[in-house]
Subunit: 699 residues, 2 copies
């Protein structure tokens, strides 16, 4: 990565004197940015470009070449890459398009490019990218029209157009960058690598990422988790809704639409996720210019009550609290403000407030220990001198120990003052809500910084041989879906309690079994062909005695036979009835993030209200506890309206066991325990049903 970001020497392969060519723009950008090392244009058709000696091939360059930017047509890329390898180039940036993004043929070409680079040990950025910038190395190896100025934001973008959008926005708002990376098709270098590098980069204060998809999702998460402990990572994930939920064979599957998984993954890794590009800009601006808040309390200073109310609403929407001031603060405010002013949060310095009044109010609340950050609002009332207030606020840029954001709300009257704030580096927003949102993101990041380290969970003793045996048996029969009793064997192998039960082949043995287990019992049809037994009447609960069992047995079998005449029925299972609150615990394998553990309350809560929590395995105890607490219906488990609390530690334990199982057995494709009965505190939890799907051997 050093060769990519800080090369001592660079070759531009495909450099051109034609000003309309990308190879010309990149060379020009390299020169203009003031790159310090030797720069070698490579193109067999020219001897000199822009006053630099041009070489026919990279291998003809006299000195060493640490990094090469490749801008030749796709079909010539392999050839010049081969030459780069021979030359001993450390990293290549493939600007050229015409690879994976254009279809199968391009994908083949891209794979061969990867193999070639790998053989020579070269890192590859791209192909199909805009290039990269390292302002502190004075290197602009992109073909963007607008070169970024120096600053502390690092950007990675999967879309070239979004790169350009961000550069153009930044030029307007007076924001600078440390690194700017267009990752293109991500043949080699991707967000995971970048996070690893940027984490240690002293010039980078905040990282912004535009992501469309992740191939190495788990590695991205691992790197993000480490990085967010050091500096904020803000991610915009596009394609939230178009991806659609994949066809799923269980509720757990349907619940895990990839966007929800992304959300869970980002949260687990401490990444601040934004919903759109404007929000990304807003947050980058605040993180770039202001210190982190050291607490949670917000102080609002306004010259218009209406704006203050809007900001207070926004605080509440964003989970921020308005600070309560110390008596001394209120006293000091009173001394410096007119009688009509409101001295409590939001502080109304009244419509005719001048710069001195703003200054007094802001400095006073900043000195209050309960205030962690400040929002200063201004409406262009008749009596305010907007620009003198703006000038006063610029004093808080850079020097302020607590973050302050401003919102000068209006238009024409405000333009000059807004420019002044921009130039000084005070984050200003066109509405109070956007300013508050930016502060909320800073508070969120600070909370993330305080989260406990990911703690390796001591794995439980598991009877792995028993799990392997079940998998082998099922595969031997050419099946991928386990019967309920097979699924439960796997659960028990991991120490997850299942109800006392047995399988009966006929009515007399069902009666004998029920007698042994003790009434009341539940009876379920046992069949490898039936996933959702309840839907077809294959479950009878609360059977109180032998007569009821006999009656139910006949009714159930004829009902099942009627609905699914071709299902193979291998018997009925007789289970002891288990009491408790119904929850669902499940696991699916996500293409990008691997095993995702899901939890929710049973029935309607999961199926209709989608009140579920996801976690990416391996989970630690904090993760699992957070999952349980995060569902809206959590009060039902914790004991609402005089009910006793459920056995939440035992439930957390089951979630952790599922996480461990998913990590240890990649063969398990999908698992759902529905319901798991959570007993009262100390009474444990029991998985009453299990639906398990495994992968075929071929995979």
């Amino acid at each position: 990565m050093r060769e990519l970001f800080e090369p001592a020497s660079v070759a531009i392969i495909g450099a051109s004197p034609d000003r309309t060519k990308v190879g010309n723009i990149i060379l020009g950008n390299m020169i203009e940015s003031g790159f310090q090392g030797p720069l070698y244009p490579v193109n067999p058709r020219y001897e000199e470009i822009m006053g630099l000696r041009c070489y026919p091939r990279v291998t003809d360059v006299p000195g060493p070449v640490e990094m090469a930017v490749i801008v030749v047509p796709a079909k010539a890329v392999l050839q010049v890459t081969e030459e780069c390898g021979q030359k001993g180039v450390g990293a290549i940036v493939v600007i050229s398009a015409g690879f994976k993004e254009v279809g199968l043929e391009g994908a083949v070409l891209e794979r061969r490019l990867g193999e070639l680079a790998h053989r020579y040990g070269m890192r590859v950025l791209g192909p199909n990218c805009l290039g990269l910038v390292n302002t502190h190395h004075r290197m602009n190896a992109t073909f963007a029209r607008e070169g970024p100025r120096e600053g502390n934001i690092a950007i990675s973008s999967q879309s070239g157009a979004i790169c350009v959008v961000i550069l153009d926005w930044a030029a307007n708002i007076n924001i600078g960058f440390s690194k700017f990376v267009s990752v293109g098709n991500k043949l080699d270098v991707d967000e995971g690598h970048l996070l690893e590098y940027l984490r240690e980069d002293p010039f980078t204060k905040v990282i912004g990422m535009y992501i469309e998809g992740t191939d190495r999702g788990r590695e991205f998460l691992r790197q993000a988790e480490l990085t967010t402990r050091v500096k904020p990572v803000i991610a915009l994930k596009a394609g939230r809704t178009s991806s659609g939920a994949k066809a799923a064979s269980s509720h757990t599957g349907a619940m895990s639409g990839s966007d929800r998984v992304y959300d869970a993954a980002m949260r687990q890794a401490g990444v601040v996720r934004v919903g759109n590009i404007e929000e990304m800009f807003d947050l980058l601006q605040a993180f770039s210019t202001m210190p982190l808040p050291q607490g949670e309390g917000v102080a609002i200073v306004t010259n218009a009550g209406g704006l203050g109310v809007m900001a207070a609403d926004a605080c509440s929407d964003n989970g921020l609290t308005l600070a309560s001031f110390e008596p001394a603060t209120v006293e000091r405010l009173r001394e410096g403000l007119p009688p009509a002013a409101s001295l409590y949060n939001p502080i109304d310095v009244v419509g005719d407030a001048d710069a001195a009044r703003y200054d007094h109010a802001i400095r006073t609340v900043m000195a209050d220990p309960n205030v962690a950050c400040v929002v200063a609002l201004l409406a262009p009332t008749d009596l305010v001198d907007v620009s003198s207030v703006a000038r006063t606020l610029t004093a808080f840029a850079g020097a302020s120990p607590k973050p302050i954001v401003t919102s000068f709300v209006g238009g024409k009257e405000m333009l000059a003052s807004i420019e002044m704030l921009k130039a000084a580096g005070v984050p200003n927003y066109p509405s109070p809500e956007r300013g508050v949102r930016a502060l909320a993101a800073m508070v969120e990041h600070r909370r993330n910084l305080e989260r406990e380290e990911h703690q390796a969970v001591t794995p439980v003793e598991a009877d792995r041989a028993a799990v392997r045996e079940v998998i082998t048996e099922v595969r031997a029969e050419g099946r991928l879906q386990l019967s309920e009793s097979e699924g439960k064997r796997i659960l028990r192998a991991y120490g997850i309690r299942t109800p006392e039960e047995g399988i009966a082949k006929d009515l007399p043995s069902a009666l004998a079994l029920a007698e042994r287990i003790g009434y009341p019992v539940a009876m379920k049809v046992e069949s490898p062909d039936i996933a959702h037994k309840t839907d077809i009447g294959g479950v009878v609960l609360d059977i109180d005695g032998p007569e009821e069992l006999e009656r139910s047995y006949q009714v159930m079998l004829s009902r099942v036979h009627e609905k699914l005449p071709r299902a193979r029925i291998t018997g009925v299972s007789i289970q002891r009835m288990v009491r408790g609150r119904e929850v669902i615990v499940g696991m699916v394998r996500d293409d990008q993030f691997g095993p995702v553990v899901t939890f929710g309350l049973g029935g309607i809560f999961v199926e209709i209200l989608r009140d579920v929590a996801h976690g990416i395995a391996p989970l630690d105890r904090n993760d699992a506890e957070r999952m349980v607490r995060s569902i809206k219906a959590y009060p039902m488990l914790a004991g609402a309206r005089g009910k006793r609390p459920g056995d939440i530690p035992a439930l957390v334990d089951v979630i952790l066991r599922v996480s461990q199982m998913a990590m240890e057995f990649p063969e398990l494709e999908e698992l759902e325990m529905n319901p798991v009965m959570v007993g009262d505190e100390g009474m444990g939890v029991t998985a009453v049903d299990a639906l398990v799907t495994i992968k075929g051997e071929q995979q």
Copy 2:
């Protein structure tokens, strides 16, 4: 109202030659706006101001005065108002502050001002307001620095500062107004009056309102309901979260935090509600400049895939659908676009798209019958000529039969083009999401236009005498809270079914009663002092026979006695057990909107998930049906996972009866039926419990 908005002659009482005085600015604004009628400055200290003859008192003015603007100190307002009355002025605009907003003394002054104006039949705008503008009458009677230009937006604002913010924003964005009204303390003229007037105003195309509170909530709703059938009303309600939920004696009360009631009220009236001032601006811009969409399908045209994905995500978030193009449309697109273009929605015209390509794509999709509106997106890629695309898009301003919004995303590179779009009247937004949100609001308004007329519900026959009897009895005992059986008498008087039941004073009569009703029964403690019987163990369900009843009776009474030793226990009620899905139907009286009917599923759904629907009485059948369908858990009622659907028509009927009861008996303060059991289709619904509170006689 005509005298207010279109006065033939205006007096400025408190006019001044001192340029720092409000009375000077208003007179200046009136002159500058080109007011056509006679203008009379009134001030005993001057003979002439700004070249106009000044009169000591309004009664000294020679000709008639239709409207007077009052800018004298608060303590002089009554005097000049008296004189206005004597002069026969039709409407006064009281700019002066120092009334209700400063406390009790001001409130008294304000009430006297109201009485005085009422005696003379004068309309009052304000006090404590910024004034008003009618651009088409060439009248700017405000003291705002920035005079609005002529246009088709009418604004009403309860905050002077927000008025100024809107004017300043509009000046920057090239947006004009028909009417601009600062309502101040709303002593007389309020949003309801304004809606009534603006509905008929031919110069007003869209109405924007900033509201902090409503005194005449029901009248506002009635006027809004009528107005939104003619033109869009966009409302920003501030103070969403600060108001807090009032202390409530039932769940229904706690559920009806005033913001949720506002939300229900606005939806019922067809008002488009926005969450912040920026969104208000965004929507006004689109409604002001573009025609309404005649359908729902959105077409997206972009030169950058990433932006297209963002817009598609936003469509999905906002409930808009991407249009599917006709084959002919795709064919035409293919002819005019390069091979790399994407011809399906979102249409990617590729990074090097020129103006002609945008023009071709937009005109082609606009001709498609499945397309109702268009979003055009542009990133400042290296090869695009931003300003020529902008110029092409200006052709769609004014002339387009279908609405189009644009989003030129970026910053510096875009500024000139954005100005061009502004000047032409094409609504442009800094992010795709904001453009899509504006279109979504237009679609929402169009859907509202199509809603059915409010249909008066034929009132059911009710035994009103019985209700009055209960109320009289309860008041006679000095109580406000009804016992369960008293509550149920009221329900039965309105034809709401309650379970067969009786009250027993002791165990033998309880046993006899249960025998007569038939087991299984439920038993509940009967006491005027206990609201939530379940919480203290005062309810036993599913009693199967006399022994169980006897046992439960003893246990229940000792439990209740232990928990609430001082509660008067008047007996137990024995009820037939009723089966069905549990729902809650309730009613509370809101300070601003009157009776609010609430509906939700029982237990956790209401208490924890807050999955409830509100409706402002009187409801029509459509309202009630919408309420039932709008809760998230609706599928549980409609029959999910093979369960039979519930009796929804009967449930709707009960909701309508509660609405009628609330209208006919203002004495009913609060009512909650929890649970109401909804039987299977055709089986009806039964109110199992009733909690009713009435107002004291004094009120």
